[in-house]
């Protein structure tokens, strides 16, 4: 085993380095200059860090550079996901600035952990070896376990942290064992070398060891992106966690899970596509259907959005099954538009609460549409976009996904997807109906809108409208990003 100095290229991990540096600074600021109840400045420092990291994604755009012994890459796919994660982190910090103070979790740790989780997500998207992907996944997950349980006095928050922690660690075990079996069958952990090795030895295609490994990987990633039947933790964790963190989990963790999923399955295990496609088909149908049907019965809006996020994972799996160029590009497109509409919806949920009174039941939304017209209109836009009504971004996302499925000749899958989308209209519109056509049972008064959260709503509305009306630019960008991946 000869020792060589790996090729070092810090510029391609510049966004990650900047995010970690700012996270450490915020962590130390939080303990050296604590200002009880006035810690908003930490949020602004974090925003600066995220923006600087975002600026450093421009130099690495459009190139495909490997570094650190091929363990990490700056390619279009990774950079596109990095941009998604940074947008999500930016919006999450924005909506946290008033909310974290309201629920007494505005310490330095809160913002630092959000940035550490973002770092993990970016590593996952950029990683081209099993180690980097595993480390990214765990950096993200451990930070999120803590964030979910940060409201220390709140019994639901601790319970959600416990459930997420135990099930997440359990899933990690499966993922790791899958990685061990794939490493054992191919003798390498670099994704492209795995693909090359499988190509050179066609008899591996029938090796039980590697097929078992793929099955275990599917379980591990399935937990992270919340596909049925590995979704049981989702509603409980989303309900109990602080709302800003729920928004972060529903968008960021899901996007990162899919980034790792796509990277491993397409660039390393592409040769096995005929094998895993049948399983993914079943997972996609089960995930969409269970998510949408159970969401109808929910009375708590956070739980409803949790089941809706399961359903959205199902739509994305449809594109995953399609597996063609349009399918993969539409996953990137959908994850971006989903980030805007979901964070936007959770921001409205946050804005309608106040200290000691979170107002998370759907019946609390009665009459909101006339009392707070702009807020009601924004919520309507987010709900219609998630239901897939033109001309909003969610519609274009679903349109691309289902056309990819049709193009790949999965007609039944597309039909089931469209039917599910129709079911989902019912429970999304129910929120709107409550907002405009129900008399409020009790008055919600004394809401104070944090300016930062209002900015987040405006950005989200803009994102949903822009991606709905001018989708071709973003789709073209997504299509350019995935060249070389398939």
């Amino acid at each position: 085993m000869g020792i060589t100095v790996p090729q070092i290229n810090f510029s391609i991990i510049a966004p990650e380095l900047i995010i970690s540096a700012f996270a450490l600074v915020v962590l130390l600021l939080g303990v050296f200059f604590p200002r009880t109840g006035k810690n908003d400045y930490l949020g602004y420092v974090s925003l600066v860090g995220i923006v600087v990291a975002f600026l450093y994604t421009f130099p690495i755009m459009g190139k495909s550079q490997y570094a650190f012994n091929n363990m990490i890459v700056a390619d279009g796919f990774g950079v596109f996901f990095k941009v998604i994660f940074l947008i999500i982190a930016f919006l999450t910090v924005l909506i946290s600035i008033g909310y974290a103070r309201r629920v007494d979790i505005d310490f330095g740790e809160y913002y630092a952990l959000i940035m550490f989780a973002t770092l993990g997500m970016m590593l996952m998207a950029a990683g081209t070896s099993l180690i980097t992907i595993f480390l990214g996944l765990e950096t993200m997950s451990i930070a999120i376990y803590v964030l979910a349980g940060l409201m220390r006095g709140d019994r639901k928050s601790i319970e959600s942290a416990l459930k997420y922690f135990l099930l997440g660690a359990f899933a990690t075990g499966f993922l790791l064992y899958g990685m061990a079996l794939i490493y054992g069958s191919t003798g390498t952990i670099i994704l492209e070398e795995i693909a090359a090795y499988i190509k050179s030895k066609p008899e591996l295609l029938r090796s039980p060891m590697i097929i078992m490994g793929i099955a275990l990987l599917t379980i591990g990633f399935g937990f992270k992106v919340a596909t049925v039947p590995f979704h049981m933790w989702t509603p409980d964790v989303y309900e109990g966690a602080p709302t800003s963190i729920t928004a972060f989990m529903a968008t960021g963790v899901k996007a990162a899970g899919f980034a790792g999923f796509i990277r491993v399955f397409f660039s390393a295990l592409g040769a096995f596509q005929p094998d895993w496609i049948a399983i993914m088909w079943l997972l996609a149908v089960a995930t969409m259907t269970v998510g949408n049907v159970v969401a109808i019965a929910q009375t708590n809006i956070k739980r409803m959005l949790a089941y809706s996020s399961i359903a959205h994972a199902g739509y994305i799996l449809v594109a995953f099954v399609a597996g063609n160029e349009l399918g993969t590009a539409s996953i990137l497109f959908y994850l971006l538009v989903y980030a805007f509409m979901n964070i936007g919806a959770f921001t409205v949920v946050i804005l309608l609460g106040k200290r000691g009174e979170e107002n998370v039941l759907i019946s609390d939304y009665a009459g909101i549409g006339f009392k707070y017209p702009l807020l009601g209109a924004s919520m309507t836009i987010f709900m219609l976009s998630m239901a897939g009504i033109p001309p909003l971004g969610g519609f274009m996302g679903k349109f691309y996904i289902f056309s990819a499925a049709v193009k790949a000749e999965y007609y039944w899958l597309a039909v089931i997807g469209v039917l599910n989308s129709a079911i989902s209209v019912y429970y999304y519109l129910r929120v709107t109906v409550f907002m405009y056509f129900r008399e409020p049972e009790r008055e919600i008064t004394g809401l104070t809108f944090s300016p930062a959260s209002v900015v987040a709503v405006i950005i989200s509305v803009w994102g949903v409208l822009y991606m709905g009306i001018f989708p071709s630019d973003i789709l073209a960008l997504a299509q350019r990003s995935i060249t070389g991946l398939l």
Binding site: I3, V5, L24, L27, L28, V31, F32
Partner: protein, 121 residues
């Protein structure tokens, strides 16, 4: 191949035989006098007063937690120390990398210290 295990078998037999011999010998040779104290569940110590499962201060858990996290970092320092000499000409670079690693640990240590987790009240 099985021949190699023969030594282990002999070893196990000797160990079992010796243990059995000692127990048997003390049973045969030794004298037995029962007293009330000897028949009580534990021969040494005192009768317990109050519940035996006492709550431990939370501090122990915090120290255990911190120890666990900082202790495991040695796993990255050992391989570094082993290969350090084989990197001729890159010495400063490799040293600098370890300084960054330890520096991050020191930041974590400062955080823990400022947070008051090291105080024992």
């Amino acid at each position: 191949m099985l021949y190699g295990y023969f030594a282990i078998l002999v070893y196990i037999l000797i160990a079992l035989g010796f243990a059995g011999f000692v127990i048997l010998a003390s049973h045969v040779v030794g004298q037995r006098k029962s007293t009330a104290t000897k028949l009580s569940p534990y021969e040494c110590g005192m009768p317990t007063i109050g519940p035996t499962l006492r709550r431990l201060p939370i501090r122990y858990y915090i120290i255990a937690m911190l120890f666990l996290v900082f202790d495991i970092e040695i796993v990255f320092i050992y391989p570094w120390a082993v290969i350090y000499r084989s990197f001729k000409g890159f010495g400063f670079f490799i040293l600098g990398e370890m300084l960054v690693f330890v520096g991050i640990l020191i930041i974590a240590y400062i955080y823990v210290w400022r947070k008051g987790a090291l105080e024992w009240e």
